[in-house]
């Protein structure tokens, strides 16, 4: 048996210093961070590209009949889905001639917004976000983007949704 100095007295048959073996130098750490940075940039680019392609392919949706004009009184609200069944929207008859329609999904985390008649605002109960009824712009809370507006037209006393404006 050789008379060797063992760095770890608890395991005499395994004379490898665990701390030396697993030590990560700052240079190695920077290299790892660089790889992570490249991965993040590539992922952001890929998601951005997919998003751009999706926007490019998405054409203006087909018009949809929402309701008869007489069905909604002045100040009344109607829930409808446009352009797909999973896109809830709110139609508000602000005056006899003026109709406003917005997506009901909050631009923060997609919670459904509620129309508050007294305040003339849309209110998101999830994080207390508020939007103006006139143009859908965010007034307070976490949302930073306005509610997507739905273009509506009155065609022979019928209200039609004809497009989505971001």
């Amino acid at each position: 048996m050789t008379n060797q100095t063992n760095p770890n007295p608890q395991s005499p048959d395994f004379p490898i210093n665990w701390e030396d073996e697993h030590q990560v130098t700052r240079r190695t750490f920077v290299t790892f961070l660089l790889l992570l940075s490249t991965t993040f940039a590539a992922s952001t680019g890929l998601i951005g590209l997919l998003n751009w392609l999706q926007r490019r392919q998405a054409s203006q949706p087909a018009p949809l009949r929402i309701a008869q004009l007489q069905e909604i009184p002045v100040g009344g609200v109607k829930l409808f889905h446009y352009p797909t069944a999973s896109d809830p929207c709110l139609l508000i008859r602000a005056s006899a001639e003026r109709l406003l329609a917005y997506s009901q999904k909050c631009t923060h985390l997609s919670c459904p917004v509620l129309y508050q008649v007294a305040e003339q605002q849309f209110y998101c109960p999830c994080h207390a976000g508020r939007f103006a009824v006139e143009d859908g712009r965010p007034l307070s809370g976490p949302p930073k983007r306005p509610l997507p507006r739905i273009a509506v037209k009155i065609i022979s006393d019928e209200i039609w949704a004809v497009g989505v404006h971001a």
């Binding site: 750490f29 940075s37 490249t38 993040f40 952001t44 999706q54």
Partner: protein
């Protein structure tokens, strides 16, 4: 065996620490941009992801430049 003077060693150590700090700051920014871009992907009609992609790429290039700088100092 040549020994590096302690002041130079200290300088190298400080430079290395600064590089680590900057790269980590860039990484935090990139992570935030990635999350923002993901959020934009769920609302494809509301905003463009192009500014986030550009800034993230610039951060990655800056990190790469700092890493190259570190390699040259060896």
């Amino acid at each position: 065996m040549t020994t590096i003077p302690s002041t130079l060693r200290q300088q190298q150590s400080t430079a290395l620490s600064l590089v680590v700090l900057f790269v980590m700051a860039f990484l935090c920014l990139q992570l935030w941009l990635l999350v923002e871009t993901l959020e934009t992907a769920f609302h494809p009609t509301t905003a463009s992801a192009l500014p986030a992609v550009i800034v993230s790429a610039v951060c990655a290039l800056a990190s790469w430049w700092l890493w190259r700088l570190l390699q040259r100092r060896n």
